[in-house]
Symmetry: C4
Subunit: 238 residues, 4 copies
């Protein structure tokens, strides 16, 4: 368990240093031994998370044990996706900046522009909170019902965009979820630029699937680099 918590602390710091999260956003990992539980930091800036800040939750979003520290309001993103997607072992929620525009514009889906983001195929769906919460929400996934609605929008995809809010990325393990969150942001930036040059050739279904499988085999190469940089506290990317 301690090793998982160490990794989750690293993940928090990596996501900050790679520009995926700022003062807000969060990353969780499912408890392998108790698949109806997950680990997530208490409500705080990801860059500052330490081992002592990691809490346990059940899928309803209740804190385990007697810990009274404030949890993230949007912990239901994590619980409901774990409930709906048994294959998912880790979830990243962020407002990463190049992705937000794809969530507020109709008809311009976020699609895999290169082999590093094959996991985006065919395209990231967009969650419109007005369809579930009506026209007067505060945009947040603040209860189980909204978490379940978000999980339905996610469906079998790896990334779901949230209109006027951000995005949520899932993985079959923590490192893969972090990797996907970083390259979702990279893909969004590249796609934004490419669309202004002209019509884009995206990866097709087989290219995307094969490239995604390849990256799963080498993603530790990026993880090791990012972890080192995050621990050094060096330059923040972007």
């Amino acid at each position: 368990m301690s090793a998982v918590i160490d990794e989750l602390v690293d993940a928090n710091r990596i996501l900050f240093q790679q520009g995926v999260v700022d003062g807000f956003g969060h990353v969780s990992v499912r408890d392998e031994k108790h698949p109806d539980r997950f680990l997530l930091a208490r409500s705080m800036a990801p860059a500052l998370v330490t081992k002592a800040d990691i809490l346990g939750f059940d899928l309803d979003g209740n804190t385990l044990g007697r810990d009274k520290r404030a949890p993230y309001l949007e912990r239901f993103i994590h619980g409901e996706i774990y409930r709906a997607r048994p294959d998912v072992m880790s979830v990243v929620h962020s407002h990463s900046p190049c992705v937000v525009p794809f969530g507020v514009v109709s008809g311009v889906p976020l699609r895999p522009i290169c082999h590093m983001s094959g996991f985006l195929h065919p395209a990231a769906p967009v969650f419109e909170i007005r369809e579930s919460a009506g026209p007067a929400s505060d945009m947040l996934i603040r209860n189980r019902a909204l978490g379940a609605a978000l999980a339905r929008s996610l469906g079998k995809h790896t990334v779901v965009l949230m209109r006027g809010h951000g995005s949520t990325v899932v993985g079959t393990n923590l490192r893969q979820a972090v990797f996907r969150a970083v390259y979702t942001e990279v893909n969004a930036r590249l796609q934004t630029e490419a669309l202004r040059l002209g019509p884009v050739t995206f990866l097709n279904a087989e290219e995307a699937a094969n490239a995604a499988a390849m990256n799963d085999a080498v993603l530790n190469r990026a993880w090791d680099l990012w972890r080192l940089a995050a621990r050094r506290g060096g330059t923040r990317r972007r």
Copy 2:
């Protein structure tokens, strides 16, 4: 008083490190015990401000006490907004780069594109100095009359854009004003990108109000992170 001054010093450094101000720009806080007074650094780069650099002013922009150090020429931005808006306790003036374009183009209002910037609803008004100072100004708010004109443009909004100059952001406390200044810049960058992709769905009135209220409750999370980074003197964002 000492605690307020410490916070104001932090605010100066945070605004630099988060890319809101460069060598120019300033932030003030109203004196809670004497609402007709405010605190503002002497004329200098915000990144270098220390406690000894903070001066007191009356709402007319006169330095309190016998301090002869040069004040910011544009201190009237602060005094006249405090006069016109009793609810305002802090003011940030900057030339933050992604915001300037929205002040020089007609018909493209800066509007809240995501929940972090709900405070922008419905849109930031634009102050055209030619209407008050005529066609031959130096663009600066260099006297009380221009400060009052700017305050009228601001009206009941939280942000006013200044054509060919920058913007001014207000808050009901110092941390909120800093938070809004940072996310006004973020919103401008996201909106610029999104508008090139296609028509944008902005937050509606209720979403904006609810999201803004939510952020008021959690903005210390960002403040703590920013203050730590500013004190470390680490990487400057952007």
Copy 3:
């Protein structure tokens, strides 16, 4: 040989710090004494390469000696270009971000916009892997045949774009290849911006050739700066 290896280590770190490679990408140098061999790091993040990580390869992509450490899957990029281009002494493969869009859009060739990138004249060709590997590849140059096809696309040029993947840059020596990789990225960024302003006047053939020759004479000025910055481990560009 030791001096060459030192330079190759520096090249790896420079390419990271200048924003050409991230966790992925690689740079090789041909063995001057054995032109049918080249030096390339084992499979790892370029920023972390040390002397002990440099392996030798024959042009077929076989590791020399009994070293069993995992090589880069795409080492065939290097071997087949060295085979096809006796003048090439160094090869850089990357996913540098501003270049990728030019590889996925038809009819917008990457061309030399200023004297620093005269080597791009007349324009970088685009390698479409579907023409060689069919519609179901993983986008990677994973065998000799694909390496040879890429080398054919490169032809006599200095840079070849790879659709949905990245680019490969060659030089008559290691420092030149690194210089060209950095300024290919710079050129792509400038060209992207300029094309949005209006029709661009690119360098003509003679301007490009003359400017490229001039830069070959002064590129140590950049190399010395980049090496110093990379060894300090300071701020990463972009």
Copy 4:
């Protein structure tokens, strides 16, 4: 003289750290006591310049004394502008990235978008080297005749763009030239963004002149900040 040399060293380092120069570019200052002489570093990366690297030149571009160290090939930019413009006391030549696009596109002049860059009024002229050197130059100002042609294009302006190359900025003192070089780059970035939003209202002649005069009075505020940052060797802007 020693104080001037110290300032020139700082100027070199500031221009690097503020993103105006990379491994290339140069800054000079005219000798106040001998107006037919100027100071300029030997041929090297500006970020690495020390006092010992500063050479003296006559306006023809000859090195003073018996110093045999290689000078910048383009020292004629400086000599010929000092000859043509007695009011100019300092010259900055760079390839600052946001400015280059304005030099390669017709009909989109670089104009003052805000009060920080009033010195650009009415617009920066563009030097087309083909008109002086013919169609087969290497793009460089490599002799007196080309320097004189560039000075003619500059005319009475403060900035001249060089097609496919970069720009040259002048000032009535060293700090002003550096200030203008930094804000020419800032203006270019802001103008690029604003032009995509819609038609832009630029500063008019009086606003530009008045704002420029104001900034001349406060530019030490920026200089002090930049010098401190450059001496610390901290984060490079952009």
